[in-house]
Amino acid sequence: MQNWMEWAVAFFLLLGGCFVLIGSIGLSRMPDFFMRLHGPTKATTLGMGGILLGSIFYFSLSHSVSVHELLITIFLLITAPISAHMLIKTALHHQLKAIDRTRGERELKQGQQEGSGDPKKVLTAENKP
Amino acid sequence: MSHLIIAPILLPIFTALLIMLPPIHYSPMRRRWVSMVSTVILLILTVCLLVQTQHTGVSFYALGAWQPPFGIILVADIFSVSMVCLTSFLALGAICYGSAGEDERGSFFHPLFQFQLMGINGAFLTGDLFNLFVFFEVLLIASYGLLVHAGGKNKTKAAVHYVVLNLAGSAVFLFSLGILYGTLGTLNIADMAVQVAKLPPENVMLVKSGGLLLLIVFALKAAILPLQFWLPATYSAASPPVAALFAVMTKIGTYSLLRVYTTIFGEQAGPLAGMASDWLWPLGLATIMLGAIGVLASQDFRKLVANLVIISVGTLVTLVSLQSTAATSAILYYTVHSTMVCGALFLLADVIGAQRGKAGDRLVPGRRMGQPALLGTLFIVAAIAVAGLPPLSGFVGKLMILQAASSPLQQILLWSVILLSSLMVLIGLSRAGSILFWRVSGNEAGPERMLPLQTFALVWLLLAAPLMAVFAGPLTELTFAAADQIRDIQSSIAIILGDTTTFGGTP
């Protein structure tokens, strides 16, 4: 294996590892659910991208060309936002509290009311856009 | 080559699938006729197989042409084939009874029934321990489905217990398989016997714990004390044809006990030879007594019959522990007898319950039956047979059992337990019969009558009792031959493993 390629593999792996770790740090240390969501959704996805890239490089060099890790990346890119969306919908439905300094409380309230409770009430609410 | 050995497994599944697919699927009549005709064919095939096996001796069928010990094999010896035969006899009765209307009280009766047959036959025929597990699961899952047939609270309740216990049992089975594979390195039962014979001393106790775990599994299936509590509720809740078929299910447990503890841990097994007998002997006797107590304690007829099943299981297990030709021979005869009669009794309980109106099969005074003479005759025949009174099959079975005891201690214990339990059964049955048939309130009989198919089913099953007594001579010859065959481990191993009996891992 050429040396620079090894460096590249190492770089991508480290980059990926860092982002994966950062994502989980975000998950563990952010104060409310909505903020915790950001880390895993984004950082972890990129971290995965890094590790998968590292893997692609590694296998392409040591064995025959290996690019199928791309598939996982594509897959994660498609699904991660949807997971996040579903999670945040659940959180809204469960009326999870955002930390106090969160702005847009009206929007939050409305989000919490949308899709839950009596549909008529939702439509006739004052804060209806 | 002859594919007769595998026919008892493939024919039922083929029938089941056929019934699930168009054009059979659409009409109830087609479903039931296909099912019945297939069972008749199965019966013919299994009888042919029995005749063939009697002539050819032990033979095996290597699935996928992979020779033992590497591939899975089915083993046909007189014992296993007799059990398959018994299953088809019983199945024909049950399916005829079911086809009289019970089958339409829920979906998929016939497919599940046929799947159940597949599982039972597979369990009897297989010569591979893991494959035995698979077939256990086939028959169990089919029995779960059949158990809830026609619905009702009791069925659901019983099913929860039955399923959870059997799931736990399956887990134990797998633990045991893991131990046995991890120490013996093989799954073929004959090969396991070979490996056990040359087990390194440091593995002996491990194999023993694996072997004893198998005991738990089979004890649960067979319903031996203290693992028998599920049986009365389950069997008495099940739909009658299902309960009748279930009569053979416990026998699979005892059959497996016999197989495993006479083949794998047979005489050649050195320190492990007969290791289960110390447990089976007292547990079997206790099971008989508990079953007898259950018979007296039963407040409805189905429960009583279920307890009769427990007695039969206890008897069989006790015989398994004796490990002698006479005992093994008695096992075969008694298994056939008790299965047919108990199956018939479950059906009879249903008919009686139906004709007694609201009282059902509870042992309380009830309405006059529509066909008291016919049912009474059937009841007496069944009762005499199951109580082991002469001149029916139970009497011959009891003689075989009593004669199987060889040492004085065995005789004293076995005889007193068997005779005492017989007396208790006699008391229980005479009480049940006199309440069911004689303590009638009012003179009006209800409109219910047995349908021709139901009558046929009952007569078919109960005919076994007199016929097995009349032909007891040739039958005992058959059972002794089967016992000799099953106990002649060396010959079976030589047939199954050929000359490679000394192999040690690689072919």
């Binding site: 549909p119 | 699935l63 042409a65 992979w66 736990a168 390195g185 714990s209 007193s416 891992g505």
Partner: protein
């Protein structure tokens, strides 16, 4: 062969009444009488030879391996009993024709009667003890049927059950005795056993055998203390009483004493047990008979007493006593049967059997009265009647024994006392019924019975007189032949003369007659005294005992089985601990010598996560959703462990199965409570924890012991042959679809069956849809979030592509039909989740159960196809083909099999999940079938 016919004819006779049930009553009765009549003639055909001391044997093989053959022996004793059984049987048939009313089912009665006759004939003709026992039990069964003939009467049912229980118990004891005899002598052949008297009596088991044997005899012959069933069996129709309970069945026990006399008798133990029982029975029966107001009750106790007398005779162990016993058997049968029949006539024609009501019948039925008086006189032992003769012999024998040493005089004294009571009750029978004023409160006016109903009585009474007057001519040969076979050929000198001169025995008779008359005259005092004694109502006591037995059993059973699954599981798991744990204790060391692999930090992390989440699952198990999340991590970690330990296929399968399971559990949770209430007591929790830990320790230790042990396995064969024999490089997959394809076949069958069962469970289920979640929040309104819906549509083709890939790859690399099937199924389930049942159904309207069937059928057909090549089921085939431009491709039958797996998995999974999903759709499919 004629011997066999003597036995078979009554058996065939059971069918005759059934077949002639629709004939006129007389015709039916006549037809029924034909077989026993022929048998009787056949019997007579042998009489001269029998009287000459010959005996006949006939054997027909039945179950030689069990030592049970149809073996017939006709000797003097058998001849005597056959004569009684057939002769009196014929009379009973005639009698019953008139006795039974129009409402009674005469054919049924006759069938039972003939069955009984067969059984009795079987007992007396048996030359094989097992066969003897067979017929012995058959008498119990048939007598049960006969006693309960009037089943609508409570006392008939109870009496029948009591008789069955007592004689059944005795029968079982007898069986044990006979089997032991077989063990001792090595044969179940009666000839052999009778010839082995010395061996038997010197054997250590002799006392046990004797006790068991006597229990059988005494219960059947109603000996004290087992006598109580007999009076209660009087609920039977009188022909039954006359036949079974005087002439035949109760004599079966006596017959056995006589039959086994050469083998068993002659010891002190025999004497002690038999004679003392006989003596007690004799006294108790005679005493109690006097106080019975019921005619049949009186006769029943009298029968008990006379049976005791015979037993006592056999117990004395002298040859002459045995002869006297045999003689009394004959006499008792004749006079007692006729008395019973007379009682039946009285009952039949006057409507009562109560001697307090019956008075002065002499005026209404003089002929019957005369007959009854003669028979009763015979019973009392009046001279010139047969009863006198055997009773005299009895008295003589009591005088000549010295069995009790210096106390031997007690026996004749007590015998005389019994004789006194015997005379007293006989006198009562005569005086109280036929004289003693006028009838009181009878429902009808008594009159003479039909001519032929009285005829059997007449025949028997004539016999009583004839024997009494000319015993030598009438029964001399018979008695000699019978005694000869009892005693094994050597008959002592005895005289059947009416007059033996004045002797002590005659004095005893005179005392008995005088004393009996005296007692009867002063009976009032005795009755008063008897009334002060606490009465024992046998039938109620028995019923109560049976009820309390049932109740005890219920209590005992209930204590063991409280219907709790948890208890059953505790039993199961304790068994695991004990059975798997005990051998481990004998293991020196768990470590088996195979070096361990090193542990690295990542593995430690994985293990820690596994343990923590497993523990968390337990901790959070009451919050079900959380527990579900925890256990999915456990599953994930297990999959990762599989990847770590080089089992990629396992990891794939575990993962996909787990996701489906989680979805399933989620689906299920909708219908179940979301929280588990706290319910276990602390002790219960501690018990469970300790049991769980023990199981865990045992399993963990075994696992460790196995992993550290070196071993040989058959797996090398699979590695060596996967490519060449199975055509694939992924050995695990080749094992699955080829080497052990049959397992897989069973496995997909399980999956398919499970889905059918689930479908069955879900049909017609009473659904309840909670309107809010566990916290009381109403459900969200948005059913199908738009983002999810859109993306799931795009994911479907992607997932299908992946599953096709995994499917084809499986044979050579990790993958295969099962995983591919699950991927497809999950992708389709995602459509269900994202769009709902209706949406999917409108696009794909397939009945999944049919998919399951098709999948299994594919696998089956693939397997069966190898039959075409004369190969066993599931024999695989593969080959490589060069296709122009494309290159080399492999085709294998395993792929077709795997396709079956794939289709089955898709079908089953969807059937399971979609059926569950469908339950809640507003437009619920209507099932025409219930589960």
């Amino acid at each position: 062969m004629t011997l066999l016919w003597i036995l078979l004819l009554p058996l065939l006779g059971t069918l005759v009444p059934v077949l002639t049930a629709n004939w006129r009553r007389s015709a039916c009765a006549t037809a029924t009488a034909i077989p026993p009549a022929i048998a009787l003639m056949l019997l007579f055909y042998h009489s001269s030879a029998i009287f000459a001391g010959e005996s006949f044997r006939y054997t027909l093989g039945w179950i030689p391996l069990l030592g049970l053959d149809v073996s017939i022996r006709l000797d003097g004793l058998a001849f005597l009993f056959s004569l009684l059984i057939l002769g009196i049987g014929l009379l009973i048939i005639l009698y019953a024709r008139y006795y039974l009313s129009e409402q009674d089912s005469m054919p049924r009665f006759y069938a039972y009667l003939m069955l009984f006759m067969t059984a009795m004939m079987g007992i007396v003709l048996s030359n094989n003890v097992l066969q003897l026992w067979l017929f012995w039990e058959l008498t119990s069964i048939s007598s049960f049927l006969l006693i309960s003939f009037w089943w609508h009467k409570s006392e008939a049912r109870r009496g029948a059950r009591m008789a069955l229980t007592v004689t059944g118990a005795g029968g079982l004891c007898l069986l044990a005795a006979l089997l032991l005899l077989g063990q001792i002598t090595g044969s179940y052949d009666l000839d052999v056993i009778l010839a082995s008297g010395a061996v038997i009596q010197q054997h250590a088991w002799y006392p046990l055998v004797l006790v068991l044997f006597l229990l059988g005899c005494f219960t059947k012959s109603a000996q004290f203390p087992f006598h109580f069933w007999l009076p209660n069996a009087m609920a039977a129709p009188t022909p039954v009483s006359a036949y079974l309970h005087s002439a035949t069945m109760v004599k079966a026990g006596i017959f056995l004493l006589a039959r086994f006399y050469p083998a068993m008798a002659g010891t002190d133990l025999w004497f002690l047990l038999v004679s003392m029982t006989g003596l007690t029975t004799l006294l108790v029966g005679a005493y109690l008979a006097l106080f019975k107001h019921d005619l049949k009750g009186l006769l029943a106790y009298s029968t008990i007493s006379h049976l005791g007398l015979i037993t006592l005779l056999f117990g004395m162990g002298t040859d002459l006593a045995a002869v006297a016993g045999v003689f009394h058997i004959i006499n008792h049968a004749t006079f007692k049967a006729s008395l019973f029949m007379a009682a039946g006539i009285i009952d039949h024609e006057s409507g009562s059997r109560d001697m307090r009501k019956l008075n002065g019948l002499w005026h209404f039925m003089p002929i019957t009265a005369t007959l009854a008086m003669v028979a009763a006189a015979a019973m009392a032992g009046v001279p010139l009647l047969n009863g006198f003769l055997s009773k005299e012999m009895f008295f003589v024998e009591t005088l000549q024994q010295h069995l009790l040493g210096s106390l031997s005089w007690i026996i004749p004294v007590l015998a005389t006392v019994a004789g006194v009571f015997s005379v007293a009750y006989s006198t009562r029978f005569i005086h109280d019924v036929f004289f003693n004023g006028k009838p009181k409160g009878l429902t009808k006016t008594p009159h003479e019975p039909p001519r032929y109903m009285r005829m059997p009585v007449e025949v028997l009474v004539v016999l009583c007189i004839l024997v009494g007057i000319a015993p030598g001519y009438i029964v001399g040969d018979l008695l000699h032949a019978a005694s000869s076979s009892v005693l094994g050929g050597t008959v002592p000198e005895y005289s059947l003369a009416i007059w033996h001169g004045f002797n002590v025995a005659l004095l005893m008779s005179v005392v008995a007659l005088a004393g009996g008359a005296l007692i009867y005259i002063n009976r009032k005092h005795l009755f008063d005294f008897q009334n002060t004694l606490p009465g024992v109502d046998a039938i109620n006591t028995f019923e109560l005992a049976m009820k309390s037995l049932a109740k005890r059993c219920q209590q005992f059973y209930g204590r063991l089985d409280n219907g709790s699954l948890q208890r059953y599981l505790v039993f199961l798991l304790s068994a695991v601990v004990v059975l798997a744990g005990l051998p481990l204790l004998q293991l020196d060391t768990l470590f088996g010598g195979r070096p361990e692999l090193p542990v690295d930090a990542v593995n430690a992390t994985g293990a820690a996560m596994l343990l923590i989440t497993a523990f968390a699952t337990v901790v959070f198990h009451r919050q079900r959703v959380v527990a579900l999340l925890m256990i999915s991590v456990v599953g994930l970690m297990v999959s990762i462990a599989f990847t770590r330990f080089s089992a990629p296929d396992l990891a794939l399968t575990q993962l996909s199965v787990e996701v489906v399971t989680i979805i399933l559990l989620m689906l299920a949770l909708f219908f179940l409570p979301h929280k588990t209430p706290k319910q276990s007591s602390p002790t219960r929790v501690i018990r469970d924890i300790s049991l769980a830990s023990m199981v865990g320790v045992v399993i963990g230790s075994i696992s460790y012991a196995i992993m550290t042990r070196p071993f040989n396995t058959i797996s090398d064969y699979f590695l060596a042959n996967a490519k060449t024999g199975g055509g694939g490089t992924n050995v695990v997959n080749v094992i699955l679809v080829d080497f052990r394809g049959f397992d897989t076949f069973g496995e997909i069958a399980v999956l398919g069956i499970a889905s059918l069962g689930i479908f069955k469970l879900l049909t017609r289920i009473p659904v309840f849809k909670p309107s809010s979640d566990g916290e009381g929040r109403p459900w969200a309104l948005e059913r199908h979030p738009v983002l999810l819906a859109t993306v799931s549509q795009s994911l479907l083709p992607l997932a299908l592509m992946v599953s096709v890939f995994i499917f084809f790859r499986g044979h050579n690399l990790p993958g295969g039909g099962f995983i591919a099937g699950l991927v497809t199924a999950v992708a389709l389930i995602l459509q269900y989740i994202a769009h709902g049942v209706e949406w999917v159904k409108s696009r794909m309207n397939i009945e999944y159960q049919r998919v399951v069937a098709v999948g299994l059928m594919i696998a089956l057909v693939t397997g069966v196809a190898s039959w075409l090549f004369n190969k066993p089921f599931l024999t695989s085939w593969f080959d490589y083909f060069d296709i122009p431009l494309l290159g080399k491709i492999e085709l294998a039958s395993a792929i077709a099999f795997d396709a079956g797996v794939y289709v089955t998995v898709v079908g089953s999974t969807l059937l399971i999940l979609a059926s569950l999903g469908k339950m809640t759709t507003s437009h619920r499919p209507v099932h025409t079938e219930s589960i």
